[in-house]
């Protein structure tokens, strides 16, 4: 624990002090300029990392937000007479507002469409900055004067320190935010937007918030950029800069503050790197060696595909050979970015810092922070007394897909405190029914009442009514740890408002969420795997983890969609035990299952569907004897043969 504190926090403080002290010893205006740029790019890339790293979207608008922030700050000084801090706050506000606005339409979009929306936004921004000449001076550019700071003029050194202080503040605030429920929610919606909504976390608000936040930081960096260079041109914020920024984030390492910082130093130094041929050759040779080393190691251990190992080597070879033969490396600037970026994206997707932090953690044996002891399960899931009344009523529920009548008028009554089985052959409409109840599909017709109140539309709203579910095709947050998967869904713990979270004053509720989540992991026998990422768990444990996550919603009604699918027999036995202990806590369960033995063992009532309709209902033993059920599963016997037998 102490070691961790020393290494992690210690390194940050030392780096900050060193950076702050450099101008006192080196009085070179060129070095000072580079350092200022480094601090500005640091803020910029931390902002970009929110969308690219945590939200996992290719964001092509960040350069535009830098530009918009720069113009906003510059114009607020010249037209409105703002001081330094108010101008910077104004540029942040502009970035946040425009980012939020852009995120609203972009919210429904996935990967490529999101990238296109941001690409269009940035091209449009540059067009407007260019054409609105009365305000921005158009292509002629805009001169910006550095405003006063609490009545004082700020010299280059003072401005550097201001940038550095802002970087440190942003750093601390973002570390607090990203290690809180917010950061988990961002990553959750990257891995599975559907489950994020189904767990009541809310894809919508977090995507908009994340994008607005990242854009606000981009625009803050833009304000500093304006006061640093004191001259702005729309051409400075185009596509090429965007590619350089992506290079910084990806090369430095996604989801890492140090990665952003490292990326920032790289792009601040890039012009020098390209103009000095010797330096360039050294760096490209190091890159080639790294690619060779990593590639050969990966191939020997068979952890990478041949393409992943060979492509970076070829790209780096091109870089070295090009460095030897090309007349002027500056001219090939874009190709050099492209080759470097290509090698990193293909060969080292975690980036340099991702790699380094893994390596250093192993080298110094730094343990992750200790977990609190698990809460008592009774505290997390207090046993409810069951009144046995009707909980969920479906009446004439229909869902058609074009001409396909997946669910064709079913009426089911789920009594509270029961385990209600839902069975039927493949394609009988079980999963569709569950998807309609949980809000993924809207019903074509029919009513759904929970406690005699109609269910709202949409997964997120349904999740808030106390219905929780698992998925037939697993929808885990695959890159989050098992513990985080449960924590992100934990209901009723996160209460601190955003400012407290940013200041790091919400650690108490974080501990409580950890303790409560551990209790749920214990329930499904995963407590010892809390730190393992969901994608690395064995298949059966992944199914159990989904159940634990659904329980974190503290549901009144839990829907289990084929929880035994693909499980080995020992796991099926475990599953039955788990479901039974959940049931003992007074939670009503809808169980969709194909394993008849599981169904007979657990269910109080079983509803059988076929062709989107209810064909039988009763106890497991009753429905098993029902001729219509036998017919649905096995088909009718030939009439003539039947006659013979009789």
């Amino acid at each position: 624990m102490l070691k961790r504190l020393l290494f992690v926090q210690g390194t940050e403080i030392i780096a900050l002090l060193l950076l702050a002290a450099i101008p006192l010893t080196v009085s070179n205006s060129y070095v000072l300029g580079l350092l200022t740029l480094l601090a500005i790019y640091g803020i910029l890339l931390i902002g970009l990392d929110v969308t690219v790293g945590y939200l996992g979207q290719v964001n092509l608008a960040h350069a535009a937000f830098l530009g918009l922030g720069a113009y906003a700050a510059g114009l607020s000084v010249s037209l409105l007479g703002f001081g330094m801090l108010s101008a910077l706050a104004f540029s942040m506000l502009v970035g946040m507002t425009l980012g939020g606005l852009l995120a609203f339409p972009a919210l429904r979009l996935e990967g490529p469409q999101f990238a296109l929306a941001t690409l269009s936004f940035s091209a449009l921004s540059v067009t407007i900055l260019n054409e609105w000449e009365t305000l921005t001076g158009g292509a002629q550019g805009l001169h910006v004067s550095r405003p006063i700071f609490f009545g004082h003029t700020v010299n280059a050194q003072g401005f550097y320190w201001l940038c550095l202080i802002l970087l440190a503040l942003v750093w601390m605030a973002m570390r607090n935010l990203l290690s809180s429920q917010w950061g988990r929610a961002f990553e959750a919606l990257r891995d599975s937007p559907i489950a994020t909504d189904a767990m009541g976390v809310g894809t919508y608000r977090h995507k908009v918030a994340g994008f607005a936040l990242g854009s606000a930081l981009g625009s803050l960096a833009g304000g500093l950029y304006a006061f640093n260079f004191q001259y702005l041109q729309p051409q400075g914020f185009t596509y090429e800069l965007m590619v350089i920024l992506l290079l910084g984030v990806v090369l430095g390492g996604r989801k890492s503050l140090w990665g952003a910082f490292f990326g920032a130093s790289l792009i601040a130094l890039l012009p020098n790197l390209l103009s000095n041929r010797f330096l360039f050759l050294v760096i490209s040779a190091v890159g080639l060696l790294a690619a060779l080393g990593a590639g050969i190691r990966g191939l020997m251990k068979k952890t990478t595909r041949p393409f992943q190992a060979l492509a970076p080597i070829v790209a780096m070879c091109l870089l070295v050979v090009g460095g030897l033969f090309v007349k002027n490396t500056e001219d090939w600037r874009k190709a050099i970015f492209a080759l470097m970026l290509f090698s990193v994206v293909v060969g080292l997707p975690e980036g340099l810092m991702g790699f380094a932090s893994r390596f250093l953690t192993q080298l110094f044996h730094i343990d992750p922070p200790a977990l609190p002891p698990a809460s008592a399960l009774d505290k997390v899931l207090p046993a409810k007394t069951v009144d046995g009344g009707p909980l969920l009523k479906l009446q004439g529920l229909k869902r058609y897909f074009g001409g396909v009548k997946a669910v064709d008028g079913i009426s089911i009554m789920v009594q509270s405190g029961q385990i209600h089985g839902l069975i039927g052959p493949n394609g009988s409409g079980k999963s569709t029914a569950v998807n309609v109840i949980s809000g993924l599909y809207s019903p074509t017709a029919g009513t759904m009442l929970l406690h005699d109140r109609p269910l709202p539309g949409g997964m997120f709203k349904v999740a808030l009514t106390g219905i929780s579910r698992t998925f037939q095709n697993l929808q885990l947050f695959s890159e989050l740890s098992a513990l985080d998967n449960v924590m992100v869904a934990m209901k009723g713990v996160y209460r601190s408002p955003l400012p407290l979270v940013l200041m790091g004053l919400a650690k108490g509720e974080e501990k409580r969420a950890q303790a409560d989540s551990l209790a749920l992991l214990e329930l499904v026998n995963l407590k010892d795997d809390a730190r393992i990422s969901a994608k690395d768990l064995p298949y059966g444990d992944q199914r159990f983890l989904e159940i634990a996550r659904a329980l974190a919603r503290k549901p009144e009604l839990l829907i289990l969609d084929e929880p035994a699918a693909g499980l080995a027999l020992p796991d099926v036995i475990k599953l039955v035990d788990i479901i039974r202990s959940i049931h003992e806590r007074g939670i009503t369960i809808i169980l969709i299952e194909h394993h008849m033995d599981v169904v007979s063992e657990l269910c109080d009532v079983v509803t059988v569907l076929d062709g989107g309709r209810v064909i039988a209902e009763g106890s497991a033993a009753e429905v098993k004897r029902d001729p219509k059920v036998i017919e649905a599963y096995l088909g009718t016997e030939n009439v003539a043969v039947t006659a013979d037998v009789v």
Binding site: V58, S120, A123, L124, T127, A338, L341, V345, V346
Partner: protein, 292 residues
């Protein structure tokens, strides 16, 4: 008289719009098989145009240059698929977005250094003397663009419908997994779609170059509008791109006439953001159902 100017603007704009439609059609080809598009498609248009110009400068006759240029486009398309798309598709990630952007940047830089940064004229045997129809002037060159666009699109649609390979293409588009089970290699079909898409890009380059001249940045504006057309029309409607392409071409030509040429990119960009906000599947596209 004013009406005549509007008609004139609309007609010339519509001809350019057909080029956007052709590039957008190239996006549809790859999107249908692999749900991916080449973000560096503009660079393919530009590099193929430069290559075709080089062929002409070597003395290759125009009508021989065309197949040469198209073949070059196919090769580029295949290169993009191999280097930028296949790995990401195998990993089921969206890494192809970044990788195709990167490869486009590499092509751009190479073109800048090999052919220079200046715009160059692209000779063509087709006349650009205006002819008049009902007071609206139109050049044989513009007509040749329309003919070229419809020929390529028609040929590919015919290929998809009438040949066995084309049917495999349609099968993979409809259901990749089912097609694989029927013994169709999805990987090779995706390759085919990228090859065709590269060919379409080269055709667009050859058609548009005599009008716009050839230079490294010739496609940067073109490609944004092709994106708009593809998104507004929907990434699965070949008929839609033609309609939207003509509409957008006419609209931007009128915009630049009334608001100034600096604003000519604006309608496409705004349309794209609006379409994504209101109809993410496009005006002519089909909504897909989320499955869990």
């Amino acid at each position: 008289m004013n009406l005549l100017i509007i008609a004139q603007m609309a007609v010339s704009g519509a001809m350019m719009g057909l080029v956007y439609a052709l590039i957008a059609y190239g996006f549809q080809l790859t999107f249908s098989t692999s749900k991916s598009i080449n973000f560096g498609q503009g660079e393919l248009v530009m590099v193929s145009a430069f290559f075709s110009l080089t062929l002409l400068n070597w003395g290759v006759p125009y009508w021989l240059m065309v197949p040469g240029g198209l073949l070059f486009g196919v090769v580029l398309g295949l290169a993009v698929e191999r280097a930028g798309v296949r790995l990401a598709l195998e990993q089921k990630s969206e890494g192809w977005i970044l990788l195709t952007i990167i490869i486009g940047l590499l092509f751009f830089s190479a073109a800048e250094n090999i052919w220079g940064r200046d715009d160059r004229p692209f000779p063509t045997p087709i006349s650009s003397d205006a002819m008049r129809f009902l007071g609206v002037s139109i050049t044989p060159l513009e007509i040749s663009v329309a003919i070229g666009v419809f020929t390529v699109m028609g040929a590919i649609e015919l290929f998809k419908r009438k040949t066995l390979l084309g049917k495999a293409f349609e099968a993979v588009s409809a259901d990749r997994d089912a097609a694989e089970l029927m013994g169709i290699s999805a990987t090779r079909t995706v390759m085919l779609s990228y090859g065709l898409s590269g060919m379409v890009a080269a055709m667009a380059g050859i058609l548009v170059s005599p009008i716009t001249t050839v230079g490294p940045t010739m496609a940067s504006a073109l490609i944004l509008k092709a994106f708009s057309v593809a998104v507004v029309a929907g990434l699965d409607s070949g008929f839609g791109v033609v309609v939207v392409g003509i509409f957008l071409g006419a609209l931007e030509s009128l915009t630049s006439f009334y608001l100034g040429s600096g604003w000519r990119e604006a309608p496409g960009l705004i349309l794209l953001i609006l379409a994504l906000a209101v109809r993410p599947n496009g005006v002519f596209g089909k909504a897909s159902i989320r499955k869990v």
